[in-house]
Symmetry: C2
Subunit: 388 residues, 2 copies
Amino acid sequence: MPGIALPFDADHLDQLMTDAGIDLVLATSKHNVQYLLGGYRFFFFAAMEAIGLSRYLSVVGYPRNRPASGFYVGNPMEGWQQKAEPLWTPTILNEAKTADAAAEVAAGRIRKLGLANGTIAVEMPFLPAEAYLKLEQLLPHSRLVDAVVLLEELRAVKRPGELQIIREASEGIVASMLATFGRARPGISTRELADILRSEETGRGLVFDYCLAATGSSFDRAPSNAEWVSGGTLSLDSGGTQRGYVGDLARMAVIGEPTSEMRQALAEVDAIQQAARSAVRSGQPGRQIYDAIHALWKNLTHPEQFEFEAHGIGLVSHEVPHLVDHGSWPYPGTHRDLALQAGMVLSIETTLRNPVLGFVKLEDTVVVTDAACDVYGDSARGWNVVGV
Amino acid sequence: MPGIALPFDADHLDQLMTDAGIDLVLATSKHNVQYLLGGYRFFFFAAMEAIGLSRYLSVVGYPRNRPASGFYVGNPMEGWQQKAEPLWTPTILNEAKTADAAAEVAAGRIRKLGLANGTIAVEMPFLPAEAYLKLEQLLPHSRLVDAVVLLEELRAVKRPGELQIIREASEGIVASMLATFGRARPGISTRELADILRSEETGRGLVFDYCLAATGSSFDRAPSNAEWVSGGTLSLDSGGTQRGYVGDLARMAVIGEPTSEMRQALAEVDAIQQAARSAVRSGQPGRQIYDAIHALWKNLTHPEQFEFEAHGIGLVSHEVPHLVDHGSWPYPGTHRDLALQAGMVLSIETTLRNPVLGFVKLEDTVVVTDAACDVYGDSARGWNVVGV
């Protein structure tokens, strides 16, 4: 489309919409609005959403094959940011203070585009009921269908700029964990550790999402008063976002030197992780990752204590490609037999639940490349030793 | 109700439900779930919500006059946290991985309670369409109405524990602003300032929501490359939450000594703020705050450059009591003529947009007490001077 530089693969989106019989996509989740706008997320409502008697809701409308008719519905305060970060949508309607109003403005636009009788894909999990009901009321002859799977497919292969952000997110989380280990002292609680990690991630420009932390022989990973004591293991597993993209990694630490049992346990976890990444190859089905690690299973000391998972990651933790072998909604295995493509990003995780050693886990960010794979934040994967 | 200690005023809720003809409240927003559970918020999804092909949704169900039949629907991972933070709801169903599943579990419970034909209040802005449609499908004879105003009324008067958290939030934001001024150097951008503030708030245990920052003569408050230069003014206005409760304050700074024009401008802004707080009194209508400041208006140097607002604040920024005199949905003036009550919390804000001095603003957190009012974070309200 001359004159409009789109930040996503419009041909791909048009094709997905044609295949699904969709006339217009109406994105309302933070992640898909950001994706369709090439990174834009209104800063005022980046974290919170409730205000007054409703909530912030922004909308991107994309009519099939008609980027020149693309539109954005935002809040009256967004003009400031849009001056510095211009949007590609030719129509910008910063007129909505509520979810209801956003739906009304969008419906008006859809009418003007002649699509009031069309099939409109909305994000059922991310469209508030008040906005859904308003669309139904104002567009009674439209058909509202779910856009989640379609938009996820569009996001499956990451562009170089996205990969760079995911690299920063992954490296930032590992660096934050190392800094957290460095600030820990015997007797520190997992709640304090989670607070330190949050602060370290924030200091590196990440938005902290969560910290799972288990210590001693417990498999309980909620931050709590549980103390990390001398000789005890610690598992940190944290998600945080860099400009919306999720980094999600897990690393291990111990106060004092690790025992030989600890070394062997983590070596076994690592062996599974290495086998998994060696099976990541563009053009090959994702199922091969599971085939590769299942071949190792019989050699494990306690196979029944291990758990393995590989899943796509990006603007959403657990997204396309969906590879789990025990998959069920909302984490299906729908992409197991499809070829991996360069630019897809996987989170690969192996967990050992050992009654003596506790919770031992590694989680890595593995990017499919033409050659094989690239691993982001690929350090500190052994026992990180904290002084007694 | 013997045996169940409820963290909210159940009599009040029962009365509100009776008045509105509601049989069951189904809360699904983060703020109302937390409120009805006395502070509980599942840590893993405290910040993010999207996962897999749907999103996290937790539900609190409260049938009128029947706390013993109250229920909670959560995610399978929540058991860890609930062990440490027991919920009052006699029924806990940690079974839902999606919004759709949460609605299904809730609908099953509602049937069991014999309320399938009842009037059910849901949060229309905070109930995803997929959950709404599931309720409609599984409870076709129920009547789904909006719970927002009712739950807001329930939250209007804060308990001492809530006030303590709001005090921490307010003081934390002011302390973070002072630290940010202290770390600033001439030429720093408003984006860098916002990043520092975010880090300072995080370090104080707050969850950063946003920073509005204007410098020089600009009224544009989006953090940007705009530089804060010697002799220039800076307005910081930030929202952040402490355990879910919003602190939202604004303070001023200047690099070098403020000019007499600056002093006069901020003194006028402060005079309005002081007049407003002196009109805050339990038992008197909130309208009196506006009456008090309007009496000052004629003495201002440039009255047309001033803007004033007082609004309730708590788990939601801009909540009950709604006092604005130019009010419209979602920020109505519905409580202007009702008596203020001890324990209500107001955010009071005065803005001056001066073409030379730029954006000059103070925003304070004012708590209605039996005697008059209490002000949280009530410091650093003059020109905070940063060295040249």
